[in-house]
Structures are given as structure tokens and as C-alpha cells.
Subunit: 236 residues, 2 copies
Amino acid sequence: MLYRLVITESQRQDNKIILHPDQEHYLRRVVRLNDGQFFIAINGRGNGWQVKLTPIGGEITNDIVENKELPMEVSLMVSLPKGSGFDDIVRCTTELGVSRLYPIMADRTLLKPKENKLVRWRKIAQEASEQCERLIVPYIAPPLPFLEAIQQMEDDSSRFIAVARNTDKHLFNCLNPLDLPSQITIATGCEGGWTTNEIQSAIAHNFQPITLGKRILRAVTAPIAIMALIASLAEK
Amino acid sequence: MLYRLVITESQRQDNKIILHPDQEHYLRRVVRLNDGQFFIAINGRGNGWQVKLTPIGGEITNDIVENKELPMEVSLMVSLPKGSGFDDIVRCTTELGVSRLYPIMADRTLLKPKENKLVRWRKIAQEASEQCERLIVPYIAPPLPFLEAIQQMEDDSSRFIAVARNTDKHLFNCLNPLDLPSQITIATGCEGGWTTNEIQSAIAHNFQPITLGKRILRAVTAPIAIMALIASLAEK
């Protein structure tokens, strides 16, 4: 398999790729490519190219036309879990095809994310996209309080909020495999769960409460389980 | 919610629970229970009791009758990923209802697990069962080479092997939601993938090759995605 590398649009000029020194170092010293050998450059927005390494950078030899994206856009509003749990969520849900991740500071969120976290999460999403062979890198929004995040929503996506210990319908039963929505937004809670106010506000913004099964899933597991289910329904 | 604690059968005598000193310390100092307050004791095999803390241990006040188990037995044969990835697999798949985990040393497995790993994994499974409110703690087998593990299988479970970059059927299409198997076994590969010999041997032992979608899932993500799909099909 060819090594994959995310580049910015400014690094591509006609059929040439201008490599940053650290990228060139990585390709030659770690991946151990020599001049004339190939790698794949992706712009993270759906385009990819097979590139030949040359003494002055890279030369595009052909476009990559594969499509490994889900047929719909999935946005996850994820209440930030404790510790580094969101790192795992970014990694796993990127592999499972998520489009956008909204890190949420819910009423009961304990973590106050540091400024540099967003940079780190975006780097993880980029690496996960390279590894799982997507051409698109999921967008990761700056952390927002839940009520602000839902007030800012402008799309007309099908919206769900996962609530623990409820008797609502399972997410599976809210999605018709023969007629899946083109945009889905799903919100998941943190360790302490949603407050009543958050659930009521979500319902007022057209979120439908759903369950994910009988057992109590941790804040890290719930978004991964959701993406696994949606990807299965979309790609079966 | 009441705090949950796994006990061994020998700790239960009629309607009394004999607490180990570290359990008593935890209940009183960390969970901050006082005499007369309640917790839940589970034996990890499907039984649970509501217990009142007393000066001499615990007193069973009633049985827990809830059933949060999947309606089938799911065994996962998981090729050990790098680093501590199997810890995450134990935690997440326990929450999603797995019955048995078989850590596999595949031909391309890099990790040679240390002796004390099995003790650690079983402790994680126990804690995850407490947390997600199961009464059963999944069994975790000692690590085995893949070929040995499949030769030792004696059940007549429906068997699948997840293979990356193939054109086989999606796992979803191999499971009829209206007639799910009572026993399912699924094998997942490590970072380097299965060898041809491993896939051929699995097929000879009635494993059906399946895909998990278009993107390449890491060794950590694949078993979690599988359990999320099976739990959704079983509990929808």
C-alpha cells in the first residue's frame, strides 16, 4: 500500500507537489522512499493524487478516483469525556466515516479543554484519515456549550440525542436502511449524563431522544457505536 | 445509581456478603457509604443482589432481576494490537455485550503479551461490567496463536473472519435480524492483516470472510464496530 500524506492546496501547483521539509524527511527517512517511488497526497477535501517522489518534491502521475466516504453527512455532537477520551473518539469515528465532530461542553462536563487540544484533535483526524484511506479529513469544531451549539445549527439534518436509561426507540429503528437521511446529527452525553434542561432544549430544536441498547455506554463508547451502526446501514 | 461490586461465590453465605478489606475500604472511603446504605453485589455469572452495608459486611435485601445481556453469545477472536489497544477493546466490547474474548497471537502480531496482562484484562472486564450494569463478566482466555485457537473450537457457532480490502459480503448482510444465531464467533486481524494461510485455515474451519465497510479499520476499532452492529441488531 502506498503511504498517504495530507497536503494543503497551496502545496499543489499544476502537476507538482511542494513538500515541506518535515514531510520530505518523513517520506525519505521513515517511510524510506527513494526518488521514483510513489506515495499518495490528499487534500482532505475529497481529492487525492498518486505522486512520484523526485529530487525537487513530488510529481503527480494520476488522480485517485476511489470513493470511501459514506453516502450521507454525519455530524456528532460529543460531550467531552474525561482525560484523553476524545482522542479515541476522533480516531475511531474518523475511521468509521464521520463528517463533522462538535466537541461539546455539557452542563456536567468536567473537562475544560486547553487551547492546544483543538490542534491536537485535528492532527489526529488527519492521521486517521490517512491511515483508513479516506480522501476527506473530518472537520472538528472548537468546543462549545451544548445550548450554544444547538442554537447555531442551521441545517435540516435528522437529529437525535442519545439518552441513557430511557425507554425511547433504538437508533436502529429510527433509520430506514432503504431511505437513509442525507444529513444526520447525533448528540451524546458525558459521564454524568445530560441535564433535563439540555434534553428539553434539544427536543425543542427537533432532536429525537434515542437509546443505544440496554447497557450503559461510556461517553467514549457511545459515539463510536453510533458511527459503527450508521456505517453498517449505509455500506451493507 | 447504586455502586456495583463483583464478588466471588465464596463471599456469599446465605443472605450475608463477606467483604474483603480492600472492598470495604473502597465502599466506605471512596464511594462513601455508611452502615444502612445500599450497593449492588454481582457474581459475574448472571446473578446480582442489592446489599445493605452493615458493621460486619453486607446483608442481601433482594435479588436483582434485570437482564441486560444480549440474547446470543458472542465470542471475539481478536488479534492483539500494538501497545495497550487491547485494554480499550476489553472495555468497549464488554459495554457492548461480548460474552468471550480470545486474545490472538496472529502470524503478524508484533506484541508478545506479558504474563500479567491477562490479570489486567480480566480486571478491566470486571470494572467495565460493573460500570455498564451487566451481571455477567465476559470470559477472557489466555492468549493463543490463531491456528491453535480455531483448532480447539468445539461449538457450532456461526463463524466470521473480518478481512480488510476484500469484496466479501458486509457482516450486516450475513446476519438476519429476524433470525439471529444463538452463538456467533468473529475473528479480527492485527495491524499487518491476516496471512493467506490464516484466512485459508479459518475458511477450512467454517469461518466466512466478511467486510466491515469501505475504510480500513484499525485492529482496535474493528472488534468494537462489530459488537456495536451485533448489539444494535439484537436490541433494536
